[in-house]
Structures are given as C-alpha cells and as structure tokens.
C-alpha cells in the first residue's frame, strides 16, 4: 500500500530522471534532423527531358533556365541535387517527385 507521505518523493524522482536524459536525446536528434539532406534525382531512360524540366519548375519554383540546367545534370552526370532541406521536408520533396514518376532519393551531404 502506498503511503500518501511517500508519493511526492517517488513521484518527483522518476520525473527528474526521466526528463533529464530525454531532453538530451531530443536536442541531439533535433540537431541531426535539422541538418540539410540532399534531394537527388537520378537519370532514367523513360522520362522525357521536357517533362523533367516541367516537374522541377512546378515542384520547386525554378525558372526554366535553372530547371533545364538541373535536368541536363541528371542527363549527363546521372544525377543532380535538386533541393536541400531538413530530413522530414526532404522526404516530402522526394515523395512529391515520386508522385510524378521521377527517381528521387535523399541523402546526407
């Protein structure tokens, strides 16, 4: 049976112990996730150049000239970094590219 007198001390101890390490972990993981990840688009033989340029303009707001430069990088070098963002945002960018059938992945710089 728990005594009412003991409750404050047993309640306090776990709170302090549980909170302190959790805060430390959260801070570390925040630092990790906030570091920018690169969104990479890979070359593929089927998607048309004009289509890829359009998707880059549509999703990232690039000018036609910028989007064309990135598309040509994909075409000639096999891949291009089209965006950099914190991990969650980079995953979302990757998902939006997949929706258009572009081969995208994310990676740490």
């Amino acid at each position: 049976m728990l005594s009412s007198a003991k409750q404050p001390s047993t309640a306090n101890v776990p709170i302090i112990m549980a909170t302190a390490p959790q805060e430390t972990i959260d801070v570390e993981s925040d630092v990790r996730t906030d570091r920018a990840w690169n969104v990479v688009v890979w070359d593929d033989p089927v998607n048309l150049m004009s289509y890829v340029v359009f998707v880059f303009r549509k999703l990232f707001g690039y000018s036609e000239a910028e989007a064309t430069k990135l598309m040509l990088e994909v075409h000639h070098d096999g891949k291009s970094i089209v965006a950099s963002a914190p991990r969650e945002r980079a995953e979302m960018d990757c998902y939006r590219l997949h929706r258009y059938g572009l081969w995208a992945t994310i990676e740490r710089p």
């Binding site: 990479v40 033989p45 089927v46 048309l48 289509y51 549509k58 000018s63 990757c94 059938g101 572009l102």
Partner: protein, 153 residues
C-alpha cells in the same frame, strides 16, 4: 495535328477523338498493375529507413494515385466534346501519363535513353503506346508550362 491539350482561361482544354479516349482508358490498369516499375524508395542504401518511409507514405501514395486515376477516368469520358481541366486535374493527368510511360518502358525493357530514336526495336503495341503517350505528355507539358510563372533569376 491539332494539340490535344491547349492552355485556356482556368486551366487546360483537352479534346480527344474516340480512338484516343479508348487508348487512354488503358492508363489506370497499366499503372495499377505496374507498381514495381514506379519509384517508391526514398533512400538509396538504407532498407530500414525505406521501410519506415513506406510505412508513413504508402497509404497516402495509394490514395493519391487512386484520386488521380478517378480524375483521369471522369474527365476522359467528357473529352470527346472537349473539357477544360483545372490545374489539379491537369496535374493528375500529367502524373498518370508519366507513370503509365514508366510501366510501358519497364515492360519493354528500355534501359537506354536511345530508345526513342532506336528503329531496331521490335514494333509492338506497347512501344506504339509509349510513343503515343510521349506525344500526349509533350502536349500536356507545353500547355501547362504556359501557365507557370517564370521567376526572374
């Protein structure tokens, strides 16, 4: 040849002949049965992160694809007389045509960019459809590009 898609106030006008409606009606089945030909992984070499990513995104992706296909089928049935697609409907078309092309390319075993000019490839219905969808895609990209703002660099 008249463009299938033309920019118009409020969106993109789509006008199709009967045989084009019949051809394009193949898109949903193509995409639904061709999942392995479509991009789904967000990490190049991290299976664990990929399974996590898929766990979060798979349902959303599936719903989004079904939504696109529903738009394609609904607007397709009106396209004989000409129909104006709003921006989201036009994007649904663009994504669906793009995915159908990937599925066809995969079926044909296309591995090089040279396929478009490769006249030694065996002529098959799949190849003919892929060429036709390239033409459809270009028409749609041209129409939609006219609606995009071009930011000053």
């Amino acid at each position: 040849m008249t463009e299938v898609f033309r920019p118009e106030a409020g969106g993109v006008r789509m006008e199709l002949s009967t045989w084009q409606v019949e051809l394009l009606a193949a898109i949903p089945a193509l995409v639904e049965n061709g999942g392995e030909a479509l991009p789904a992984d967000a990490y190049a070499d991290d299976p664990l992160a990929n399974s996590e990513y898929r766990r979060y995104m798979a349902d959303e992706a599936e719903q989004a694809d079904s939504g696109d296909m529903a738009i394609v089928m609904t607007t397709l049935s009106a396209a004989l007389d000409g129909v104006v697609l709003d921006a989201e409907e036009a994007e649904a078309w663009l994504r669906s045509v793009g995915k159908a092309r990937l599925v066809l390319g995969n079926r044909l075993g296309v591995t090089s960019n040279a396929w478009e000019a490769d006249d030694t490839m065996e002529e098959t219905p799949e190849l003919a459809l892929l060429h036709y969808l390239s033409w459809i895609q270009n028409s749609l990209v041209d129409a939609l590009s006219d609606l995009l703002p071009d930011p000053v660099e």
